[in-house]
Symmetry: C2
Subunit: 337 residues, 2 copies
DNA sequence: CTGAAAGCGCTAACAT
DNA sequence: ATGTTAGCGCTTTCAG
């Protein structure tokens, strides 16, 4: 069971010599060219194995013009860091990319249109494509995309929807959650929204709205209070809701973090969950499962987000133009509704 | 404020022509060679700007033998995914690497010695160095390191301490936590350990032990119960501790996840925290700040872990051999102790 | 089906 | 201080 030598400096030419064929033939075998005589294929493969050869990425890139590298860009202004989201997505990207013989190049950098450093790195000499995380401003991406660089954005782009993107279906998830609350018997479903300036926030609110509309009702504005996705804002929103005196027996909260905050005030005021107020969150973040009462919530397929982005970019590298994708969400029933 | 054209195909040769100098001179200017006449430096720079030139990584690699790429390898068997840890570290790595003109190549893959795929990618043709996350088995890394590949491990390696590594100072952190509990007045400090087969688990226990020893006492084995870092095991351990009947007025728990579990049983049994039992955790994970009672805990500098790893590998790429580093921890006083 | 030869864009001696 | 000249290791016409 000895490892192959993994020699640092075996070249294709040496393989050719050992196998008794020309470099061109070795190259053909390596790239799976069909029309090479069986016995030569074998002797080349044997030489490759014995010498522990692995092709030089640089030389190949120089010859083909392809790098095999996909930039995975995270705008480091984002506060994703408190969330395992980013780790899961990038890991999934890396794993999926491997299937297409591509590798993920990680770039954490503040992203703005004027950033020439990044623009230079993204020059097609350097990478075959780029995956962006949901951005404040997608003008920069739009520009690169227009210049012909394969791009995919994870999340829903603000403006330029022409760039292929993947996102979870926020609207449908929110609607399902709200409808679940209703079928469970809730008469007055309140909602704590996220930041409505962010697409996830807006779409989740729209889903709530759609569920109410399906009942033939209009949304009672007293039942909706705005948060900003932070734990703190969940606390404040619930206090506001409670203090306003509007009766409600359920609440759809736009993310788990706020839901957890809301729950803590419900607990403090001795309001029974879910008996008096049922609550469902969104995200299925890890902490949702931690408390004494586990949160009922809408799970998003975070890993799916990464692998979708990766396979889309792989398609683009091959010249195809994949459609944007929406990933389904799933309602996870636990203790709070 | 127009952007430079960012032409995909400007070559060094074209720059040379436009600037009226030889390719070698352009190369010198690009690489900051001192002995080039001032006016030529200027004209080269102007041409670079005007044509929107950026050098081809592939060609440069081929010529120099350096790739400018650092593999960042995560053993995907790890369950880091529930934790923002990984995202923070990799982000920090990427950012720090940039300062040395290196880039992070992300590789999420099950890691085992027999994995030739990975070995091939890690061949020095492909990357200039590699950063590994705490591993189950570091034999594989040891092998690569011996073959001359610059390697750094994040975490404390099991066996081969000769490989440079960065870790938080688990022992000192645990000791500080325990001593804090003691100075706060605790007479009987219990501990819930992590998985002792993992260095973090072992070292945190040793820190606890050291604090007790400093008191001139021996550890009372009835006060130590083993967990495995999971939330569930924290619950079980606390139940075991309580049911055993040993008196204790404080507990140092080896990570926040278990601490949260332990707290939930304390709450259930109406034991007042911190009055009857004070608790301190370790990690300062996000959820530590969420509950009704925020957890007192030992914070580790996760970002520091990443940037240390990155700067160490950068040093190694330049031929130096940096010493392993231990990062200090910080006690965060909150509600539970 | 296979080989020879010409680059891909850059750097690094070696001259000058 | 600057230009000339070979390559780096691979792919890819083009012949045969």
């Amino acid at each position: 069971m000895t490892q192959p030598p993994m020699n640092q400096n075996v070249t294709l030419a040496e393989i050719a010599e050992v196998a008794g064929v020309s470099p061109a033939t070795v190259s053909r075998v390596l790239n799976g060219d069909e029309r090479v005589a069986e016995h030569r294929v074998e002797s080349v493969n044997r030489a490759v194995r014995e010498l522990g050869y692995s092709p030089s990425r640089a030389a190949r890139s120089l010859a083909t013009g392809k790098t095999g590298l996909i930039a995975t860009i995270i705008d480091s202004n984002l506060e994703v860091f408190t969330d395992p989201f980013w780790g899961i997505v990038t890991t999934a990207i890396s794993r999926t990319l491997q299937k297409s013989n591509l590798q993920a190049l990680l770039m954490a950098t503040p992203l703005n249109k004027a950033d020439n450093m990044l623009a230079a790195s993204l020059n097609s000499q350097q990478v075959d494509g780029a995956i962006f995380f949901q951005l404040h401003d997608d003008g920069f991406v739009a520009e690169l995309f227009k210049q012909g660089l394969p791009c995919v954005v994870v999340g829903t782009p603000k403006s330029s929807k022409s760039i292929p993107y993947v996102d979870v279906d926020n609207a449908t998830g929110a609607r399902m959650a709200t409808e679940y609350l209703i079928t469970r018997g809730a008469k007055n479903v309140a909602t704590i929204t996220g930041d409505l300036a962010i697409s996830a926030g807006r779409l989740r609110y729209e889903g709530y709205e759609a569920a109410i509309a399906a009942l033939g009702q209009a949304v009672d504005k007293n039942l909706v209070v705005n948060g900003n996705f932070s734990h703190e804002s969940g606390i404040e929103a619930m206090e506001e809701l409670l203090d306003s005196g509007v009766p409600f027996d359920a609440v759809f909260v736009a993310n788990d973090l706020m839901a957890l905050g809301a729950m803590s005030v419900l607990n403090e005021r001795d309001i029974k969950v879910p008996e008096q107020v049922a609550v469902v969150g969104f995200d299925d973040m890890f902490a949702a499962q931690l408390g004494r009462q586990k949160l009922t919530t809408v799970r998003q397929d975070i890993e799916g987000l990464g692998s979708a982005a990766a396979s889309m970019i792989a398609e683009m590298v091959e010249g195809r133009r994949p459609a944007s994708r929406m990933l389904q969400t799933e309602l996870i029933q636990r203790d709070t509704a």
